[in-house]
């Protein structure tokens, strides 16, 4: 069974049709990269997957279960599907470690020492073990985004969503975040990444998706996508960003 299956997903903001018949099947361990021009619906799409947005037609299945079914516990769903935003959105009043342990402590009721141990291990993994007791404002953008990744991982999610995680970063910090994401991909995490980092896509993506005006225009493995795009809109887009 695929981890995520999206069938004929449609969403409107009022009269505005943002997502039009989106279909996707994501197997365990797959890495999807989603790209496309601004306003094409990329964020809206991945935000539907953890129900940060509600959709009106079609379905999103997580492990075979319709996520908008009444029986689904939305908090549990979000614990299982982590998300990292463009603006790191760390909690500014809590230390780095507390940012990470809050949800495990309160949602999963993990014992404190275990949550902290796990939190420190995650910080080690994203390479900022020594910043555990600092506050977000004292960290660089790249470090903050790595904390945000660790915060999502602390819930031990089965899927990770990334919404342009490096777009708000200074160029010299982009790689430190991408490297963490690449490690995650290699360790077998199922990932849906909205990003225009094509080097990342080439290296770890199983499939690249190009969206425009709420439609999936093109979808292919990275080598085909970059070397042999079929659609003119994809070609034009690639020319612009490469």
């Amino acid at each position: 069974m695929p981890v995520i299956e999206v069938n004929k997903l449609n969403k409107w903001y009022g009269d505005f049709h943002v997502l039009k018949d989106i279909n996707q099947t994501v197997e365990k361990g797959e890495v999807l990269v989603i790209c496309g021009p601004s306003g094409s619906g990329k964020s809206t799409f991945i935000r539907c997957v953890n129900r940060l947005e509600e959709y009106q037609k079609g379905e999103v299945l997580f492990n075979g279960q319709d996520i908008q079914a009444k029986s689904v516990n939305v908090n549990q769903l979000r614990a299982d599907i982590g998300i990292v935003f463009q603006q790191f959105n760390l909690y500014p009043h809590l230390t780095v470690l507390k940012n990470i342990t809050l949800a495990p402590l309160k949602v999963k009721k993990t014992p404190r020492n275990q949550a902290e141990e796990n939190g420190l291990a995650l910080l080690e993994r994203v390479g900022i073990h020594d910043q555990a007791h600092k506050y977000p404002a004292e960290l660089s953008g790249g470090q903050q985004q790595r904390v945000a990744i660790a915060r999502a991982l602390a819930m031990r999610p089965q899927v990770m969503l990334f919404d342009e995680p490096t777009s708000a970063l200074d160029p010299e910090m982009i790689n430190e975040v991408l490297n963490v994401m690449k490690d995650l991909a290699r360790e077998g995490m199922t990932m849906l990444c909205v990003t225009h980092e094509m080097g990342f896509a080439r290296e770890v993506a199983d499939r690249v998706i190009f969206m425009d005006s709420g439609i999936i225009v093109e979808e292919a493995p990275p080598d085909v996508f970059f070397n042999n795009p079929k659609h003119d809109r994809t070609k034009a887009f690639l020319k612009e960003i490469l």
Partner: protein
Amino acid sequence: MTEVKYTFDWNLVLTGQYGDWMLQGLLLTLKISAVSIVLAMLMGTIVAVFRLSKVRPLIWFSAGYTEFFRNTPLLVQIFFWYFGSEAVLPKAVNTWLYKQDFEFAAGCIALTVYTSAFIAEEIRSGIFAIPKNQLEASRAVGLSFIQSYRYVILPQAFRIIIPPLISQFLNLIKNSSLVMTIGVADLTYMARQVESYTFHGFESFTVATLIYLAISLVVSFTITMYNKHFLRQITY
């Protein structure tokens, strides 16, 4: 007619029986203020969060509550709870209240409800000042709406609104002097009583005034210092 010269006698109102009365009054003022502040914070927080929930009846309740209690005189509210509580509160609650200090309870309820309406508005504006993505980020890791408010939104909002909250606390302390009208023997009540026994109203009310001033300054100073030294100032 010979003019009787008024002689100041500060000792009279500060020592012995009268001094004791003033002290009792002070303790009662502190007690009713402290209890009301704690309850008003609780109630204010609940009302503010109701207003921001997506549940219609809660929003209506909250809007009605703040508008009603902010826009009616506190003295009328005090009389209302004192003379009218029998009609509006359940019998069991009333029986319980009568067994306690009923005047104190009625005064407390009035001060709490009145001040909580103002506090709710302060908290609401504090919550508005928190970037929307904070709620989203906390919901996105699986925290419920209430947990998100409890651990993420409110702790940030309270830091922002500490100055206006202090002024609400000070208002409450000053407003608590109105409860003397229903027979709560607070500082104002006792100053009045000392005056009627001694005819030294100038001294007794001067002392009361200075005590109110001192309480306000201490409260304000303590909270400001706490905010400055123990709460991390947030930047986004």
